[in-house]
Symmetry: C2
Subunit: 140 residues, 2 copies
Amino acid sequence: MNKEEAIKEGLKLAGESRNAIVGSIGEDAYPNQKCMFNMESEGLKTIWFGTNTSSKRVAQFRKNPKASVYFVDFDGFRGLMLVGDMEVLEDLESKKRLWREGYEMYYPQGVTDPDYCVLRFTAKSGNFYHGLENVSFEIE
Amino acid sequence: MNKEEAIKEGLKLAGESRNAIVGSIGEDAYPNQKCMFNMESEGLKTIWFGTNTSSKRVAQFRKNPKASVYFVDFDGFRGLMLVGDMEVLEDLESKKRLWREGYEMYYPQGVTDPDYCVLRFTAKSGNFYHGLENVSFEIE
């Protein structure tokens, strides 16, 4: 598996994944992880998530934007780790972009609910594995 | 869900999980993640993994033992994050403990293969979620 194949297979896995495991750095400098819905993405470079502005993860990323995003297919022995930075966005355009029908259940005030915000992850590098093979690559 | 229920449900999820996603801190201080086999555990306090001594994860944990271990059931909307420290063990007793039939495929020199080692994770705290509920707890 060369880099081009790893990126292609990584894109395929990300596209198939309903969930991503988001890695952050906690206040005590320990790594943290949380499962989030894989909402929208642009290639492997940009991945978007919607979440609560009051959540622990948002507080962590405001203090330290360093992040990772992990997609995994346990049965197929495939995994993609992306490493990069997470931004917390509260502008209306970003919030509208990620808004989905039924979100009023979580954010009663609708798309302008101050407790609804958007996380935008920008990848710097990645690693894809399949079985015993794994390939690292930069993301331009 | 109270703390006792969260711990009980977390133990159940960990027991059912063939895999864990292990979080570490990379050299550049970014969070990293890797899927590993959930080999052996003692409650939620201690979790054991077998891996290559030459691997990137081992180098990271030797420099910075801060770790997290994540168990997830995507379909059931359940997840358990454990936060704690990872030790790299190369003593024969630990290596024998984790050795499994067929490992010669990965470690041709057998249980004493210098490229085979053991990771022992010791948890300090945890967080279990199920649906929209999530509960944090200390681990004694």
